[in-house]
Amino acid sequence: MADTETTTATRPTRGAEQGSVEAGLDALEVPATSRPPLRQTVVHKILPPLIAVALVLVVWQALISLKIVDDPAKLPSPADVGREFENAWLEGRLLGYIWTSVSRGLLGFLLALAIGTPLGLLVARVKFVRAAVKPVLSGLQSLPSVAWVPPAVIWLGLDNSMMYAVILLGAVPSIAGGLVSGIDQVPPLFLRAGRTMGATGLRGAWHIVLPAALPGYLAGLKQGWAFSWRSLMAAEIIASSPDLGIGLGALLENGRNASSMAMVFEAILLILFVGVAVDLLVFSPLERRVLRGRGLLVKG
């Protein structure tokens, strides 16, 4: 087509040629994608945290071996803590501790989800409710939920309902807040595009607003879980009582009372482990999937 003389002559075949030009353009412009090989995943993802953990253990052991800290009541050796884990496992207590706390945490989180989601919708979409409730939500988000433990104990007594109350006060503001900011940040272009297609009212909410707000909602859920878990541990440590069963927080408190630093370490490590595991197994993959589907995640 560079030759102007032949322009008119080539016209009849333009349809066919046009198709092939387009196919060429498409092929050029679409990025080639492939999954990273397994070796690369191991080297870049799994190895670094393992090295970090090993390093911490080495430093810990060095503190003991070099007698920098030689009071086992202050710093137990890694072997002591390991023995504590082993005993708990052999006596069948270990999974019990974990399950007591995790079942509470998850149930509380689900409850927070069931309350926070409609609350978030209401705040996002009803002007009066927004004006009334939104400042309260932001305030609650910055209030450490430990503060709720003493009043909850007084109002609800030393039982599970008090634990759930504390979890809710920790998690509901995050979940509702995440949904509100997700909805607030929906690009107006999507709303307008939806309107020209006839997605107004409830249909607009279902087909456009909610899916567009999903990343913000998920971020709220993730933070909500972290807050649930934190507030639950605070509640378990402060309000341990024999009828409540021994969860991880109570384990820590028992260790302190028995002056067993190994047990305290055991509890701290378990709390850390559960918090990280739930995030790694549930929320991170969910969030990654959503973001990747929208092309919002460049790598990883």
Binding site: Q18, V30, F190, T200
Partner: protein, 284 residues
Amino acid sequence: MATTYAKAEKAARAAQAAEAAEAAEAAETGSASESADAGRYAARLRHVSKSFAGPGGEQLVLDDIDLDVAPGEFVTLLGASGCGKSTLLNLVAGLDRPSAGSLTTDGRPALMFQEHALFPWLTAGKNIELALRLRGVPASERRARVEELLALVRLHGAYGKRVHELSGGMRQRVAMARALAQDSRLLLMDEPFAALDAITRDTLHDELTRIWQETGLSVLFVTHNVREAVRLAQRVVLLSSRPGRVAREWTVDIPQPRRVEDAPVAELSLQITEVLRGEIRRHG
């Protein structure tokens, strides 16, 4: 937000009803051209004005626009940046209401935005399918119809592709397919190819012309590119700036398919550019 939409829609419907009544009245008083027969025009604007509340009081953006788009007609709307082209399209699309004047369209128009405006949480195919679903096409027919539309814009096999996996040109073609899925009689396009490179834009011009000829749609196409306007349109309407008024119109009777390099296209473009320059100079 639901309430806002519902209200806007109700208001729009009320306005349309009022217009129909007005038109019927006009027909009664005897002017046949003003009849309420919707089939005679895809869009009809009469004395349409739009102003926005600006820092220095009301800012008049569009002033007394009269514009008709006949069924099956391809009209390009040409004007300098900021002269109110997008504002005008939004009015025709029903996304905004005129401050004064009357505006009638033959059904709800489809609008294609300057940015592709595809929903990133859906695949290319599902984006098109959503448009079908929203206008009530039964689920059993949707998939086949989507494939048809994808074939129409020459994107066979793109059904499962994510939006971010497509090139800019492919996204605009999916957006075009989605707009076509609305099965409107009028397609509004707001500088849909402005962000594309010249070769891609060329191929999309050819596609659009072919689709327009095959479907018999009416198209109101906004651009600030004079050659693009001449390349595509049967009629070019030039808007002046501040406030936007219809400054001049040209009928383009160069046979399709045209190319931007064709001598008659270039010649008319030159002529229109001169007038556009003059319009802009008035503000210097």
